[in-house]
Symmetry: C2
Subunit: 692 residues, 2 copies
């Protein structure tokens, strides 16, 4: 438990000084100015008084036995000795602001090791080093053990950021719109206490309703995945992954490698964990604000109420773009609107209550829509007019929303003279925005959260796989970092229940006839060489061979092209189906990722691929298929029979099991796979597997 | 000229009253409270005093001969008589706030006609009716002849909105961030004075540097296109088209019709005019703010300066997403950065000057980047720290930007205690944002404007077309609202220099042999009937007929399917090329639109089509091709020869000329077209033309 960190009984500030710009000084100021409930003890080798508090020369001199937490901002080399003293004093957590550890090279690394060793000897956990600190605005504690500048006010959104500037920005915007936060931390180097441990603590904190986080890199993605997956069923996690366009990922030759980049990896992890992913900081904060007071909607149908046309249209446009549906009203609902609104009001969706609408018109419109069974959420737009009573309107809007659990957001168009309207609505726990689009996007994020939270969850299915057979094939490749021959690759696939064409390898002209007998006609002749990566492009695949004469000709050509010693493979020509591509790539710390896409231009030009973390459950496999852009193609267009989606999903599960059982398969490309209508399993007609 | 409207010497307010909630009262208040330079004359049948100003019973009683403008908010039926008096008084413009005209039915329409007639008799122009009014914050006039509530401050962004609520919102946000505006209007019904006339006036106003507009529908798109095209080379127009997801567009059977919806129409018009299109209100305003003080960048390479890492990464991610490039520094630039920055600063892009950077570090970083030949714009991020002198930093940032014309935006992360920093930067004409992403998007919009402004412009080329030949074919169809036969359709295409396969029509078994002689083998047999719209889907196309026997069989099947009287067409089988689709759709008020896309799934699933207004110049045709998502395919992937883009562009120009010469072609679909590598013209293998 991290109570000693986030709910300390007393705090020591080691490195506190009279210099108002020093970290130690600012931490003392932040703790005392924000009403920390326990005592704060500045520690300075010179003693003296710091911000009117007596400073001690050593923590050992402090007449208090409940110092759970210390903030340390002294020079790096002194940290281990100071920790030794902290240990003797019974300190439980140390926030190390100081830099100069692992990030500066071997010497710092050694110092870090020593620091952690000393700490652990005494059961102290280290937060940092090179870190900003933590905050907990819970009024019962009110701890601001952090050197940032935003005043602390209680709220129920907790924030965790790897980058200090980003964390500060999230906290700051909440402050600037009059809201507070719950817990906060920017955790720096993660030498001991890890991000997933803190996340877990946030998850268990009853005062935290929403978690916002920013990450630059995942030190332990697997731990994050487990912790986040346990939180999202009851609490939303909103996340930004920095560096989504980073071009630093290693260039590899296969499709999969190039496509499974950092962005896709985070995307796969977030999807599996049910984390809502954002790319825009402001959008994430706005969504968090809505989630901090509103419940997720039961569905995706939005009702819009406005007193002016234009912003209502903007709300409609944005709703559709965000995948929401416009609700329509029941007969009863229509009747109630007609009874309660002005004759000139427009009673469709949006309901335009017109500019002269008063508090009762707003109340009736909101409560009518919230009572509609087929309306899941409501956006209220209100432009103030000189003749409206804004206090009464704020009050009546609040009253209308109290009758229902469905989420309501309010968009207010007004100027400084009427800002109290915004304050009143916020005080009534309603999220308020300046633009209709922002309100819609916040609701859409809530709807997305509800979908993620409520999705079908199943265990990874137990399928008939022959791990021993695959092991026998893979074993000799282990440690060689090389590609399997085509025959071996397909044998491994078959061992995992993946369908493959009939095939026969041969390495001499003499073998040709025997191979043809096994495979039959029509057939395909392929070069089988690790040196030829893009076989089709390089002329290493000859299709449509109808008889033995054609096959002989083709084989001669092949030997001419690739040399008389080349090994070839004969393969049954499969009827052309829907062209799919599936791949596997290893990711550090997270295990294997499974990639899915449509073949051809979809992957080449549009990079239209989805990625998931192996192993997959059946619902996860279906989701992987559904979330590609070109999904509609698989459902059968212009009279084509739809593909057997269940069979494709099962194939993906099998691929994911193989990848999971053999993490040494660092690269796998099944491209193309032919998929067929109902009742037929997909067949991989080319396979490339690389074992590390 | 609209000087009488936007720079009136005196204003009469007809319908002014003592009721503080009445429009007339509010207009008097707005005019006087915002310091209108001329006299304001309230007109009320009861006379009296309104807001301490003597009211007159009739405008004819007013002792002033320079009333250029009146605001009218009396009951609709009295308006024409009042206008009669205004005419006698020499009034030039009348803003009619009153509703109850064309929008309420035939009676109102008649009243509107009478109103306009009376006005025109006296040379009065009407603004409205059912309108909000106008403003001009030019300090030389300061006219607020509008009943909205936002206080007026001078600025150089002019606003025009069809929807009053949207116009108000644009104005309001500028006010809320401490900025003013130049001219403003929300124009209502457009019974006389039109939106393009006002836009033209904004374009000629030296005090207007940027124009923001919102439109729900275009009354005269052609006029808008001409006016906007003349403005954008020297002044940016930023626009939101409301209703971009409207599902109300008529359902037509052909692809083109369904795809050329309202969104695409506005998109085509904006592109041709060089208008920058937005879907998000807030984004548009933020871009306008940057453009109001900064010059467009010479290219798209961004330099980023920050004093904290995370927001710098957000800026990089957003830059790449917005199509900007990260600049890199010259040797000289690297040297200067090294000399002027802290040793721990990171000198790549972003330049991280680190948290302790002072005013001189910022100054040096900004001035170095602005001096770099290969850096076109700079984003400066600054999180305030307790030890930095924010006044000095604001001053030095400003000084650094004065040395260059390149645009600079500043993103400031701070809280209320330091808001004067933001005010100081804004006072120094620097755009300031709260989030890094917003700053990047504003710069990206400026870069887009520069590209639009500087694009190559050419006249529509004079090509060899045989209009008379096409006229002869089309003439009998005119007024029939029907599809041309395949033969006629292809004859029209050939008349415009569009290539088509050899073909021969026939209507009996006897004709088959003759047709085959003309066309040769291999050939394609097609049904030629207006009733069969999707020929391929319905089995009306049989491909790959290699000899006469196969042809005869195919013909028998065709007659079996579509009836013994069916007319068929024999067509040369063309070698398969890149599959394209081109179409034409008529649009009300704007003429014909040309649509372009890749065939197959691209159009079916991804709706990946671009649209332009006919006729096209060659650069416009090239742009139409380039801006589809799948463009890369045409450049040759995986060893394929690239398509002859010049030939495709010429084909599009020819299609656009045909559409332009014959506006009665309300629908045209060339689908598919086969396009080939260098030196070969594209060939339409199926064509559907409908004439109204």
């Amino acid at each position: 438990m991290l109570d000693g960190l986030f709910r300390p009984r007393a705090v020591g500030v080691i490195g506190a000084s009279g210099n108002p710009y020093s970290i130690g000084h600012i931490v003392v100021k932040n703790l005392t100015n924000n009403g920390f409930h326990g005592p704060v003890f500045p520690i300075n080798p010179k003693g003296g008084t710091i911000r009117s508090i007596q400073a001690y020369k050593s923590i050992l001199d402090v007449p208090c036995d409940t110092i759970d937490l210390v903030n340390i901002s002294i020079r790096n080399v002194f940290v281990p000795d100071v920790l030794e003293e902290c240990g003797q004093k019974g300190v439980k957590f140390a926030i190390v602001h100081s830099a100069g550890f692992k990030e500066v090279g071997p010497e710092g690394e050694e110092l870090e090791r020593k620091m952690v060793e000393t700490a652990h000897k005494h059961g102290i956990r280290i937060f940092g080093p090179n870190s900003q600190g933590i905050q907990n605005a819970d009024p019962d504690v009110s701890v601001y053990a952090n050197f940032t500048f935003v005043p602390q006010n209680p709220g129920n959104i907790s924030i965790m950021a790897q980058g200090g500037g980003m964390g500060e920005m999230l906290k700051l915007h909440l402050h600037n719109v009059g809201l507070g936060h719950r817990m906060y931390c920017s955790y720096g180097n993660e030498c001991d206490l890890t991000m997933p441990e803190i996340l877990e603590y946030y998850g268990k904190d009853d005062g935290t309703k929403v978690i916002m986080m920013q990450t630059e890199s995942f030190k332990d993605p697997r731990a994050f995945l487990e912790v986040a997956s346990a939180i999202t069923p009851h609490k939303p996690i909103l996340a930004i992954k920095a560096g989504r366009t980073a071009e630093g990922s290693k260039a590899v030759s296969s499709h999969t490698g190039a496509l499974v980049d950092q962005v896709k990896m985070a995307e796969a992890m977030y999807r599996k964990a049910g984390v809502i992913s954002f790319t825009d900081t402001h959008q994430m904060i706005k969504a968090a604000i809505a989630m901090s007071t509103q419940s997720p909607p039961p569905g995706n149908r939005i009702g819009i109420i406005t007193n002016t046309g234009g912003p209502g249209i903007q709300a409609v446009d944005e709703s559709i773009s965000q995948g929401l549906q416009l609700a329509s009203w029941s007969e009863e609902g229509n009747k109630k609107l007609k009874e309660t609104q002005f004759a000139e009001a427009s009673l469709g969706n949006p309901v335009d209550v017109v500019a002269t609408a008063n508090q009762d018109h707003y109340h009736a419109a909101i409560s009518t829509l919230l009572a509609e069974e087929e309306t899941d959420m409501v956006l209220v737009f209100f432009v103030t007019a000189p003749f409206t009573d804004i206090d009464a309107i704020a009050k009546r809007i609040k009253e209308a929303t109290e009758e229902s659990d469905k989420p309501v957001v309010v968009v207010v168009e007004t100027f400084s003279e009427n800002y109290r309207l915004i304050e009143n609505l916020r005080a009534a726990d309603l999220p308020v925005y300046e633009f209709a689009e922002d309100g819609v996007r916040a609701l859409a994020s809530m709807s997305k959260y509800a979908q993620l939270r409520d999705r079908v969850r199943e265990d990874v299915p137990q399928l008939d796989t022959d791990q021993a057979r695959a092991e026998a094939i893979i074993k000799p490749y282990r440690g060689t970092d090389s590609y399997l021959t085509q025959e071996d690759a397909f044998t491994v696939l078959r061992a995992y229940g993946l369908k493959a064409p009939r095939m026969a390898g041969f390495s001499s002209v003499q073998g040709l006839e025997g191979a043809a007998e096994i495979v039959g006609f029509p057939c395909v002749l392929k070069i089988d060489s690790a040196d030829v990566l893009h076989k089709s492009d390089e002329g290493g695949v000859i299709l449509d061979l109808a008889d033995f004469d054609q096959l002989k000709d083709a084989h001669e050509k092949m030997l001419e092209k690739f040399g008389p010693e080349s090994t070839c493979l004969l393969m049954q020509q499969m009827p052309k189906g829907y062209e799919l591509i599936t791949g596997v790539a290893a990711s550090e710390g997270l295990g294997s990722l499974v990639m899915f896409g449509l073949g051809g231009v979809f992957v080449e030009v549009l990079k239209d691929v989805s990625v998931a973390v192996a192993p997959l459950s059946m619902p996860e496999a279906h989701e992987l298929i559904r979330c590609i852009q070109g999904f509609e193609i698989l459902t059968g267009l212009r009279g084509n029979d739809p593909v057997d989606l269940e069979a494709v999903a099962e194939m993906l599960v099998r691929v994911s099991l193989l990848a999971n059982d053999f993490p040494e398969i660092v690269e796998m490309d099944l491209n193309p796979i032919f998929a067929y209508p109902a009742g037929q399993s997909p067949i991989a007609v080319d396979a490339r597997l690389k074992v590390e």
